[in-house]
Symmetry: C2
DNA sequence: TTTATATTTGCAACTTAGTTGCATTTATAT
DNA sequence: ATATAAATGCAACTAAGTTGCAAATATAAA
């Protein structure tokens, strides 16, 4: 069950994702907003925004949950099968629009894939 | 720093990975061996076996750590950049030997990739 | 074979990320 | 204006994994 009411917390979270295609970890959002909202609320609103197809989530390298704005997702269908890129130097993750072809695997039916590409981002390479 | 002594715990853990290319989650190993070894020991030995290139680890879907036997890894170089397949029905994960080509991304230097392919395995499809 | 010593182990306590139950508050339709 | 379902805050909890330290043990040296 997604968002039903337009509350302050929903606005605040959407605002965090307003600009940029960067992903933000759940725990980062909890910390950023902890003066205004309880962490339970943050986790719950993130959950609902994902249900609604507004955000999508995925697991980062250290077992923590990240969220990013959906592009072309709807309540009924999440098309966020794009890879994510994590800079091993600064830790930032963003969505990348490249297509990665997953080959068929004998005797398996593939329905989804989680691809985390790791390396160094532009800012960190030049340092 | 990898394994230095051949202790009972090392033997027990290696034994768990003896047959099959299946991955086993750290927490599963902790539970399987909890009558014989402390969980701290299990986590530490897994760590060392990874250092030695005997096992490799990766993150599963729910933020938990999985281990599998390395194939062609050494202490100095882990070549375990192969994808893993997780059955969404039974939860089992194994290493798959397919090659997935990660395209170059502008302004990023790619050093590694974590690919988790999800779907249904043979056993679960036929049910 | 004994001894010295560094490695390994167990234990308890801790950490981090996230979840749950429940009472209170609040947005929205009537 | 009010009823009511949804949203929130709080505290307590869970699950996976980590840390510090004292005790035990594998291995090399004598």
């Amino acid at each position: 069950m997604g968002i039903i009411r337009k509350t302050e917390s929903v606005g605040a979270l959407l605002n965090e994702f307003k600009n940029g295609s960067n992903a933000i970890s759940a725990i980062t959002l909890v910390k950023r907003l902890e003066s205004k909202f309880n962490k339970t609320t943050v986790y719950r609103v993130l959950d609902k925004l994902e249900d609604d197809g507004v955000l999508h989530s995925f697991m980062g390298d250290k077992g923590i949950k990240w969220y990013a704005k959906c592009d072309g997702c709807s309540k009924s269908e999440h098309v966020d099968l794009h890879p994510h890129f994590q800079c091993v130097a600064c830790g930032k993750i963003d969505c990348v629009a490249v297509d990665v072809t997953i080959p068929k695997i004998p005797n398996r039916e593939i329905t989804a894939s989680q691809i985390l590409i790791q390396g160094t981002c532009e800012g960190c390479t030049s340092k």
